[in-house]
């Protein structure tokens, strides 16, 4: 489903250059629950950003579902993200003025589907992530774990091809983090949605069915479990 070939990305930081990715190549199959692991600065967030069409590579090729995403125009990229990709961030990034329900429905509002379908799909996914009864709460009235559940629901409600999660448990305590990982794995198995998540937490890595380790912008190991 995802084919990455010799991906290179270099940032300029003042006078110096930071080689975030130095020729990364890999393939990810549909339904995989893949962890990109590595220490800070290893390039895992950069790799996720490029796969998520949030950033551009300097060179190399990346195909998602057979399409070369680097040839997309700005509008095509936005449309691809809207329809095919779900994002989960470590800081949750919920819209503070919207309730849990509204935050999830936002993803469907962008797809311009019927109000009835938005309602049924939003309520179903919120119940699935364990937020029955919390639909009308604002993010400020939810715990960190609940907020991340809303973010996961928002990523999954549109039935995406791929969910990208950048250190999804980094802002959570270990118990809540483990609950979130169990939930993500459960949803991956149930819906068959492909998940790619970055982490440097061994607990999170143990949930991955495939573990790719990055170091200094290069893949140092790729293990299927």
């Amino acid at each position: 489903m995802i084919t990455i070939d010799a991906l290179v990305k270099t940032y300029r930081e003042g006078e110096s250059e930071v080689h975030a990715l130095r020729g990364v190549s890999l393939e990810i199959k549909p339904g995989e629950f893949t962890a990109i692991a590595g220490p800070s600065g290893s390039g895992k967030t950069t790799l996720l950003n490029i796969i998520g069409l949030l950033d551009d590579a300097d060179s190399g090729k990346i195909l998602i579902d057979g399409r070369d995403i680097q040839t997309f125009s700005g509008k095509e990229r936005a449309r691809f993200r809207r329809e095919k990709l779900g994002f989960v961030f470590q800081t949750f990034n919920l819209i503070p003025v919207l309730t849990a329900y509204e935050n999830v429905a936002l993803a469907l509002n962008l797809l311009q589907i019927s109000a009835k379908e938005i309602e049924s799909r939003t309520l179903a996914i919120l119940h699935e992530v364990g937020l029955k009864g919390a639909e009308n709460r604002l993010p400020s009235k939810l715990s960190g774990g609940q907020q991340q559940r809303v973010a996961i629901a928002r990523a999954l409600v549109k039935k995406p091809l791929l969910v990208l999660a950048d250190e999804p448990t980094a802002n959570l305590d270990s118990v809540t983090g483990e609950e979130i990982m169990k939930l993500m794995l459960e949803l991956n198995k149930k819906h068959g949605t492909t998940f790619i998540f970055s982490t440097h937490d061994p607990m999170v890595m143990q949930y991955a069915t495939r573990l790719i380790k990055l170091h200094d912008g290069l893949i140092v190991s790729d293990e299927r479990r």
Partner: protein, 415 residues
């Protein structure tokens, strides 16, 4: 989508209630002030034009060309001879006309009954007590005593000049002037009336004598420096044509519209309007900077949110619309408050007004408004201010929103 964006915009505004309110109040102050000042100026203009027409210019005037060419020095010697003939022609053409003489003079008062001896330079106006009423409303503003009678050595004074001299009805007054032949002439007259006109110029400078008496004193029998005309202003061209036809055989005479007579006033009023517009423009700029700043803060504070929306696939056009709607809503809230404020301001002006008469007694500000400055209800201004407020709010938000959208999604999410 638009409905969803509008709801989100409204929720965002409610999230920062205090900031929204402060920005809206800045717009409201600008709009409220504009409506109030505009109302006062328009009312002052209307009242000034009415007073000019009723007390100073009529619809227009006939003078000799020589008089008009050097009118600033009031050349009484360049008068219209046989003014009665011209008056008859005008009357035959169905036009109301009144002759007047204007001459320079010195008004002298002596201790007892006046508190002290004194003198001042004035412009004497000779009026025909009967005909003058057909053009001007001077008689109706008599506040004390009686109006002038033909051929009597008597004077009526404007209320402020009378107050300044401590003059009252029955008091003697001496006027020194020159005849058209250049000889000194002294007139001993009695104050028979005091007028309190809505036109401050009349109250401040008005010294009126009977026309016939002044003709005799100035050695200009049947002469007049001016023949003022009054006609229906809805038919200006037709009436002016009639006047010009009458003047065809009298090449020494010339007709001038009220606008030419009131050139000084119109210039001052125009300059004041421009000055006030400039001040109001500054007020609007301050309000606009306030909105721009609010939107800049909104964009920067919500940069991560903005990045998230873009990551989710919301297009830049929709994000721009989100912020424009927010700005527009601030503008509309401000405009609503502003119009309400303007209505309250207008209500006070229309009902009570601001009384500047204490200052106007000694200072000529150009406007012919004697007492309180009132306002008028101007619905067009209110409606246009409402829309301008909303539109300005959207326009000034363009820059900060574009600036925010220039950042990449990754940069936005890193904030």
């Amino acid at each position: 989508m638009f409905r969803f964006i509008s709801q989100l915009a409204w929720k965002n505004l409610m999230r920062y209630k205090r900031r929204t309110l402060i920005t809206a109040l800045a717009i409201a102050m600008g709009i409220g002030m504009y409506i109030g000042v505009d109302s006062m100026l328009k009312s002052a203009e209307q009242e000034s034009e009415r007073n000019l027409h009723d007390f100073e210019t009529g619809s227009g005037v006939i003078t000799t060309k020589a008089y008009w060419d050097s009118k600033e020095r009031i050349p009484t010697s360049e008068y219209i001879e046989h003014s009665n003939v011209l008056l008859q022609s005008l009357s035959d053409a169905g036009l109301q006309a009144a002759p007047r003489i204007q001459a320079q003079g010195e008004l002298i008062v002596y201790e007892d009954p006046y508190p002290v001896d004194g003198s001042m330079r004035v412009i004497l106006t000779g009026i025909d007590p009967v005909r003058d009423e057909k053009v001007f409303k001077l008689q109706k503003t008599l506040s004390k005593g009686r109006f002038l009678k033909e051929q009597n050595p008597e004077v009526i004074l404007g209320s402020w000049i009378a107050e300044k001299l401590n003059a009252d009805v029955g008091y003697p007054i001496t006027i020194v002037t020159r005849t058209v032949n250049g000889y000194m002439q002294t007139i001993d007259a009695t104050v028979v009336g005091i007028i309190d006109a809505p036109d401050p110029v009349i109250n401040r400078t008005g010294v009126y004598l009977p026309l016939e008496y002044l003709q005799e004193m100035l050695e200009m029998p049947q002469g007049a420096t001016h023949i003022f005309i009054n006609f229906n202003m809805s038919n200006v061209n037709k009436n002016e044509q009639k006047i010009n036809e009458i003047l065809l055989n009298q090449p020494m005479l010339m007709y001038h519209s009220w606008e030419k007579l009131a050139e000084d006033y119109l210039a001052i009023a125009g300059a004041k309007q421009k000055g006030t517009s400039f001040i109001l423009l500054l007020v609007f700029i301050i309000a606009a900077v306030g909105i721009s700043n609010t939107m800049l803060m909104a964009v920067y504070e919500r940069m991560r949110e903005l990045g998230m929306l873009r990551a989710m696939g919301m297009e830049d056009a929709d994000i721009k619309n989100l912020f424009f709607i927010e700005a527009g809503l601030i503008g509309i809230i401000g405009a609503v408050f502003g119009v309400v404020l303007g209505i309250a301001f207008d209500f006070y002006l229309v009902t009570y007004g601001f009384d500047f008469s204490m200052f106007l007694k000694d200072i000529d500000i150009g406007y012919r408004v004697g007492g309180a400055f009132h306002g008028i209800w101007n619905i067009t201004t209110m409606i246009s201010c409402f829309f301008i407020g909303a539109v300005i709010a959207v326009l000034v938000s363009i820059f900060p929103v574009r600036r925010g959208l220039k950042k990449t999604i990754v940069e936005c999410l890193r904030k």
